[in-house]
Subunit: 212 residues, 2 copies
DNA sequence: CAGAATAAAGCAATTGATTACTTTCTTTCA
DNA sequence: TGAAAGAAAGTAATCAATTGCTTTATTCTG
């Protein structure tokens, strides 16, 4: 008495649609699985395709990873930078950027795994290059904002901006790793303000600010 | 005209010796290769054994990873904590601990890959549990030192010690990731002081310290 | 606008390579 | 001499990629 599977009239899609659906499926799957153990069969299942059909839309697995890295880079920078650019004061922009980044990760828990996973592999594959460039661009953005803050007189003048940018990214990574250790990615957004408050103290003017 | 391999008089070793040699080989190999792609054949080659002979000393690959995680945990905590305990003032202990950690990583570049790789995989395998507990213990140590520093009057009293501990680990991770991005693990020790100086500013007393 | 022709998208099955682990037999050495 | 340690070959499973063929969609033509 085999239960007949739904006839499931097979419907064809353009490669363009399949590609984006596949990329999002990978990002989704990385939230619950180590990227290194992700098989084409598992991805195909998530998209609703046979394993072999995946190769009608991507020439090979590496190119798929490349596309995923590109998608992540695009989404991260556009969402985070846009939030920063909405503020005139550099210190406020940095804060907004910090929270936007945390929010982005909380919504896509697989992304740290993805990026760290790429950085893990040595060599200079295309996907790794994309991640590397994204992080470099991000760091430059932070350095620029810090410098702007100094010019605006809202950030201590003597600050080591390069180091502050590394610490900025480290603060986020610390949050992420703490989330991976505790397993609670949801609590990220809750803890983030405490971390940023502390971080921002490291470059605040030492003057006793009368207001507040 | 096959060139005869060196006769290589085969010499037998105790499992105990082989185990530690294998563990160190894995740590060594992780410096140049993604742990997820490390095969038993590659490990055996590094140790100087046939692939099958490895299983005379470890029942399976998972147990090997477990042993590696244990070794890393033991080495890291013993070396880093020992350095911290040599100082009476908590702030100095934190600084020494920071540099000891960075030095440890610089000497074993594979270890961040190892620990991050373990944290990546979901579930609660034994190896991941060890890494998790190690990080948790580390965090507690930092919180304890921060609290001690407050009691000693060397650290601002109002500080959020939990957040400061997360930021402490984040500072190290920021350094590590920056090293993975730039590919220069050697420059870690050079950059570390700049990062720590900034980090420590976040919990320094705001009083204008006349000395120095 | 019907319908043939062509291209695109799909499945099921298979291939070849890789990998963790086993088995069989040999060598060492306490 | 017997147990531990090793090599070498083998095994079953897994996985990315391919192949052969079918089905759907699009384009061309009269």
């Amino acid at each position: 008495m085999a239960i007949a599977k739904a006839p499931d009239k097979r419907t064809y899609q353009s490669t363009e649609l399949r590609q984006s659906a596949t990329i999002e499926a990978v990002v989704q799957l990385c939230a619950e699985q180590d990227p290194a153990t992700l098989t084409t069969a598992r991805i195909a299942e998530e998209v609703g395709l046979s394993q072999g059909a995946l190769f009608k839309h991507f020439p090979n697995k590496n190119r798929l990873w490349e596309s995923v890295a590109g998608w992540v880079s695009e989404q991260l920078t556009s969402q985070v930078f846009r939030e920063a650019d909405r503020h005139e004061h550099a210190d406020q922009a940095l804060e907004a950027m910090f929270f936007a980044h945390v929010r982005f990760i909380a919504r896509h828990p697989g992304i740290p795994r993805l990026m760290l996973g790429e950085l893990q592999k040595p060599g200079n594959g295309p996907a790794k290059t994309i991640v590397r460039q994204t992080l470099a661009r991000y760091r430059k953005k932070v350095v620029g904002l810090l410098q702007l803050g100094i010019d605006q007189g809202r950030i201590a003048a003597g600050i080591d901006t390069e180091a502050a940018a590394v610490l900025y990214l480290g603060a986020i990574q610390g949050l992420v790793v703490q989330g991976m250790v505790s397993g609670e990615i949801a609590s990220l957004e809750q803890t983030a303000p405490r971390i940023f408050k502390l971080y921002s103290a490291s470059f605040q003017e030492m003057t006793n600010d009368p207001e507040k």
